[in-house]
Amino acid sequence: MAAPKRIPAAPRRPARRNLFGPVDREQLQLEYQAALRKDLDEASLRWGFDFRSDKPLEGSHFLWESVPGAGVPLLYRCQDAGRVQKTAETRTPPKRRRSELPQREKENIPLTENIFNVEKTPEKEEKAGMKRKQTNITDFYQAKRRMVWMPRKSGE
């Protein structure tokens, strides 16, 4: 359905309508795959971990070490198709080489696309034994709390 030139935004009455004509499904699928690939590449760079081959990258800011999959909460065990076979072992992160990344004082500041700039260090990574005022889930899962697959702070 072509948009009427006269009144650019003039819609048909029912809210149910197709605004910009047919969607090229194949192209859409290609773009989706490309977008996912790009996201994964960025995540790999950021975490120094190749999520496709499930191996740490050389020369990253993180040191990764393996822990038995049985030792981590279910949520963190590999579930998706590509990685199912590897559930026996799971990587823990990251002992951050602390000096390398400056700590940022604020979280949830997403205004820049540059993945290096958005890197923030959640305070809890800084010191393992730090006391908290508030009860935290990690207080109950002490041994497992370093497990990550994905960036642990959704806001970053």
Partner: protein, 299 residues
């Protein structure tokens, strides 16, 4: 069985929490963080090649209509527009995928804000099945990634109560004022000129426009002390001049949208008389979507 039916009918809501609304820190905090959630660029000049401002308006109008028809919470639409703008500010997008993006943004905003969110299937039907639920779910992930999973954006709606409570307004008019303010906010969200404005400014301007529109400011001048605008500007730390300009802009947008609405109504009536009431392909009201009470606002 009856119990189940009753449960399905009612949305249980929390009452307004005075601890949140009367504590100045909450407002100050909102003001501090709101800029983090603005789109990075005025993207039509920088990022987008295929998409024009009028297309954003088309998709916004459609989204507003869907939200209204589905009786979504008020903040769902402005929040979805925030997602849309933030995505478009970083990802060049084709025209033919814009509606998909709009649907994804509503899907996310609805899930964040509603107890009974819109379903993927429903949203796909609203695109006249031009997209499939599977595609919606796939692109949801892409959009989430681009937004850095940062969904709890500050919207103008977050400020309404904070502003309204700090004004000497007649108790019996509060519900009406709120409704008008929400309408103004929705109207602003459909217009790209407001996309880069901080939510607090849109909220403050909308409250000002609503009060002026209802002529509550002239009824009893003495109660305001300072002028309304000064008072409003103080509440959200906005500059008076900037706020005035914003309010005027909002009133302009309302006026033009009303004019457009009227024109289209006339056109539609003409067409109807020509073609008969069942004539197909009528150009209906563009702003039929705008809540009807806009038309009650006195300019």
């Amino acid at each position: 069985m009856e119990l189940l039916c009753l449960e399905m009918e009612t949305n249980i809501r929390a009452r307004p929490d005075p601890n949140l609304l009367c504590d100045d820190r909450v407002l100050q905090r909102l003001l501090t963080i709101e800029e983090r959630f603005l789109p990075q660029y005025s993207y039509f000049k920088v990022v987008q090649k295929d998409i024009q401002p009028f297309m954003r308006r088309m998709v916004a109008t459609w989204m507003l209509e869907v939200c209204e028809e589905q009786k979504c919470e008020e903040e769902v639409f402005p929040l979805a527009m925030n997602y849309l703008d933030r995505f478009l500010a970083v990802v060049p997008t084709k025209k033919c995928n814009l509606q998909l993006l709009g649907a994804v943004c509503m899907f996310l905003a609805s899930k964040l804000k509603e107890t009974r969110p819109l379903t993927a299937e429903k949203l796909c039907i609203y695109t006249d099945n031009s997209i499939r639920p599977q595609e919606l779910l796939e692109w949801e992930l892409v959009v989430l990634g681009k937004l850095k999973w940062n969904l709890a954006a500050v919207t103008p709606n977050d400020f309404i109560e904070h502003i309204v409570r700090r004004l000497p307004l007649p108790e019996d008019k509060l519900a009406l004022i709120r409704k008008h303010v929400q309408t103004f906010i929705a109207l602003c969200a459909t217009d790209f000129r407001f996309a880069m404005y901080p939510p607090s400014m849109i909220a403050t301007g909308s409250v000002g426009a609503a009060i002026c529109g209802l002529q509550l400011d002239s009824a009893d001048q003495s109660q305001w002390g300072d002028s309304l605008t000064d008072l409003l500007a103080k509440i959200t730390n906005t500059e008076v001049d900037v706020l005035k300009e914003c309010q005027e802009q909002i009133e302009c947008v309302l006026e033009s949208s009303l004019r457009e609405g009227r024109q289209q109504q006339q056109q539609q009536q003409q067409q109807q008389t020509q073609r008969g009431p069942s004539g197909k392909g009528l150009d209906e009201l563009d702003q039929s979507s705008t809540p009807t009470d806009v038309r009650d606002v006195n300019l």
